[in-house]
Amino acid sequence: MKYLDEYRDGDIAAKLVERIKRVQTKPWVIMEVCGGQTHSIVKNGIDHLLPKGVELVHGPGCPVCVTPLEMVDKAHAIARQPGVIFCSFGDMLRVPGSDGDLFSIKSSVGDVRVVYSPLDCIRIARANPDKQIVFFAIGFETTAPANAMLAWQARQMGLTNVSLLVSHVLVPPAIEAILNSPQNRVQAFLGPGHVCAVVGYTEYEPLAARFHVPIVVTGFEPLDILEGVLMVIDQLESGRAEVENQYSRVLERGGNRPAQDLIGRVFEVTDRKWRGVGTIPGSGFRLRDEFRAFDAEHRFSVQAIDTMEPAICISGQILQGIKKPHDCPAFGTECNPQHPLGATMVSAEGACAAYYAYGRHLKDADLVTLGDNR
């Protein structure tokens, strides 16, 4: 496919790795921010191709993972109510709350539907005028234009049976929280390409300057990631700390203005709790007052929910690049994609789930070499 296959070329990847080896003289710790990048890195074994001194740590950029348990429980409480059609992106369906997941609600008491796009909710609302349609509006900046459009269209069309349960998160405040942590190990970032396609990267420039960290906005294909790593190491080795754009075929510094305009009309910045991390000031979106009628948290009165995460889970430290999945005694045993204990195992883009999916929980003795018939 055009613009995908070209950026998966093994020969060019090998050359990029050679170039990285030549440029790198000191050990460096680089965080890829986005869960999609984590998935691509683990799937393609990019971290194993890099020289020993280049360590990739995995960031907090999976919105499914960081949606707080309280919000998941709130979604479940609404989905269980009679007369509700609860709509969600597929990724959220098997995220366990304190009592089951959306799949189990779908197969028992609730009408839960997976949608491809938030706009599907409008069709469902029209076809079911006697039902309340609730959309679980999660995501980073990338998804905000789509979710904002649902609220905007619902208001324009005067749909009284559509509402959004909003749990939106923002990347720059999370990067700032990571850099402010006394335990921080991260020296540079691969910035989130699709987040920046929407909002641009001007917000990252003061972070790069203030913390003296290189940030290279990077795409998702293997060659994108390897080039991003090369650009970051080039900066680190020469003592620069700038924001650079590896993903120039998709985005410009200012991002997508029409999308930013609608986001600004529908959402406003608020404090948000991140699963495994805690509350980060100014790190999320909520609906503006003008859209309060479309806010599921107001439409459905759900009691305050107290939740408890398993004490053994270290996902908070993994999300901040302090630890890796193998540092957790529960990884791959007590905690696995069927029975996730915490944030980084609940979605395929979480670091623990990606490590598990590509066999990194297996011991050497479990591995069978092709052609080995013993």
Binding site: D11, C34, G36, T142, P145, M149, A197, V198, S248, E349
Partner: protein, 91 residues
């Protein structure tokens, strides 16, 4: 979750006051909202996330980036010490 896939716009139309398109991803064609990239023409590539085009893929820039990366090959060759009786080699 932030997955976005490049696809080719094969048809544009208006629905519910929104700019819409049929976008082809390999063998699959789906609808996408073009409101955020309204200037997009049929035949151009857009990056689609959850049914919304969030960016136009700059074909020229994509080609330039790819060629620059492919050229690493040749630049890599340049790092090999020159052998005096080697002639040509420019491709």
């Amino acid at each position: 979750m932030c997955l976005a896939i490049p696809g080719k716009v094969v048809e544009t139309f208006t629905a519910e006051g929104m700019h819409m398109a049929r976008v082809q991803f390999g063998g699959v064609t789906r609808e996408a909202c073009l409101d955020y990239v309204p200037e997009t023409q049929v035949g151009e590539y857009v990056l689609v996330h959850v049914g919304f085009a969030i960016s136009r893929v700059d074909e020229e820039e994509a080609r330039r980036t790819y060629e620059a990366l492919a050229e690493l090959d040749q630049l890599g060759e340049l790092d090999i010490p020159e052998v005096s009786d080697r002639s040509g080699g420019v491709s």
